[in-house]
Amino acid sequence: MKKIDQLREQIDACRLDTDDLSLPELVELAVAVRQDREVADELSRSHAFDRKICEALHDAPVPLGLADRLTAALQAEAAPAVALAERSATNECDVAGRRRFGRRNWWVVGGAVALAVLVVAFAAPFVVRSVRDVAQNELSGDVAGWISSVTANKWRPITTMPKEIELDSAVIGKALQWQSIQARDHSGWTGEVTAIDLRPAGQPRAMLFVVRSSARFNVPPTPTAQRRLALSHGFAATAWQRSGGALLVLVVEEDRGQRLEDFLRRPTQA
């Protein structure tokens, strides 16, 4: 028992399901566990205790609607937060603390969003009947949503892709797999979005989004790497729409080395 007392700090510092016993400060414990059954048993009991405590600590009820409130706050605070971050990059928590909403404001924001949704839902059928012109900044927001909607376990073999979905001859790269994007948050227009994967899994991604819609997109008729959509998080994207054709959006992981230029034929090549 005295031995256990001496080793108590080391026993308590040894995490379960890890190789902590190989850490230098726990070498004495590692030796004792091999040589002394009592110490080994106590370590085993300590780990069982840790497991129980860990379960208990993680067992706390999460308030209903928390994720929705957090998302609403992030959207509401996005613009001011960015401005504040630029002003004071070293004081984030303080700034966030001052800027954060109180719980009363959650309800105000929530109510406003709900009201806006109702109004949009009621008015949308009347508005969407006419052809919708989609600006580039609106399209950028939509593309960011598609990127986050791409789902790893929904890819399908390229041979099963509907024939009416075609790659543009300006795009270099072999279509490997495809999936439909459940894009419900288009900025006021309707259409079907298909993602086509141009790079094998595990490599920096390159993807072509093919959009069939009656909307008119304010994009050039041919692709150019110079005219880009405004995306964040290391992506680069360009969009184009040939006369009477689908909208095409090429997206690459630029921060991992992919370049738009590498996936687009030059005009003379196309």
């Binding site: 028992m1 256990i4 007392d5 108590r8 700090e9 080391q10 308590d12 510092a13 995490r15 890890t18 850490l23 400060e25 106590e42 009991r45 205790f49 840790d50 129980k52 405590i53 860990c54 600590l57 993680h58 067992d59 706390a60 009820p61 999460v62 308030p63 209903l64 928390l66 994720a67 409130r69 957090l70 998302t71 706050a73 992030l74 605070e77 996005a78 937060a81 960015v82 971050a85 928590c93 303080d94 966030a96 603390g97 800027r99 954060r100 909403f101 719980r103 009363r104 990127i147 986050s148 909607s149 791409v150 789902t151 790893a152 376990n153 991604r205 998080h233 290391g234 992506f235 992981e253």
Partner: protein, 210 residues
């Protein structure tokens, strides 16, 4: 805690592409529960935990470009929660310059493994710990950090971390020892020398509650 609760992420979720996993709605959806629970254990009450969660996600939104590996999102977010908690804490009152002396008497020699752990008992035991001890304990259990990593994050010697961790665990063992244990349960007011000095969380709650 009479609030309604969400299930513990039992639903099957689509597998996000690695490159798509770092957008904020996905981060919130995937990690809000663990972020909230960590904030709840750190702050000690639901209202502060929600505020702390919001603060953490706001910071995450600004710094999401720093998150290069989506599989590390959980650890990254928990570190942000801890950072926010500490900043709030320091703002409300300075941390003591020297280690708080946590008296852990009558800790059972052998670790008892209770069949059922009373959640409220765990919460109470946690609540009685001085901030420095509770923080190390939660970094160990929630962030799953080693004593070395905790020492690096906290910028304190490894020996200090091991000592605090062991004393904090000793306190839990003592509090959760079965009633028929040979070791007497010590009345709460005498357990922690630092308790009265610390008045854990009270200042923080005042500070954070709108």
């Amino acid at each position: 805690m009479a609030e309604a609760s969400e299930p513990r992420q039992a639903e099957e979720q689509p597998v996000r592409e690695p490159w798509a996993a770092m957008d904020m709605p996905t981060l919130v959806h995937s990690h809000h529960a663990v972020v909230y629970r960590y904030a709840f254990r750190l702050s000690g009450n639901a209202a502060d935990a929600e505020d702390l969660s919001q603060q953490a996600f706001l910071i995450a939104q600004r710094k999401i470009h720093q998150l290069r590996e989506p599989e590390k999102a959980r650890a990254w977010l928990l570190a942000v929660v801890r950072s926010c908690f500490l900043k709030n804490l320091r703002k409300s009152r300075p941390l003591p310059a020297q280690d708080v002396d946590l008296l852990v008497e009558h800790v059972p020699d052998r670790t008892h493994i209770p069949d059922q752990i009373d959640r409220q008992e765990v919460a109470d035991a946690l609540d009685e710990l001085p901030d420095e001890f509770r923080l190390v304990l939660l970094m160990f259990y929630f962030e799953e950090l080693s004593y070395q990593e905790i020492a690096e994050q906290m910028e304190v010697p490894m020996g200090t971390v091991m000592s605090r961790l062991s004393r904090a665990k000793g306190h839990l063992r003592q509090r959760l020892a079965p009633a028929d244990s040979n070791e007497p349960k010590v009345p709460r007011p005498h357990r922690l020398k630092a308790k009265a000095e610390n008045a854990r969380g009270a200042d923080l709650r005042r500070h954070m509650t709108p």
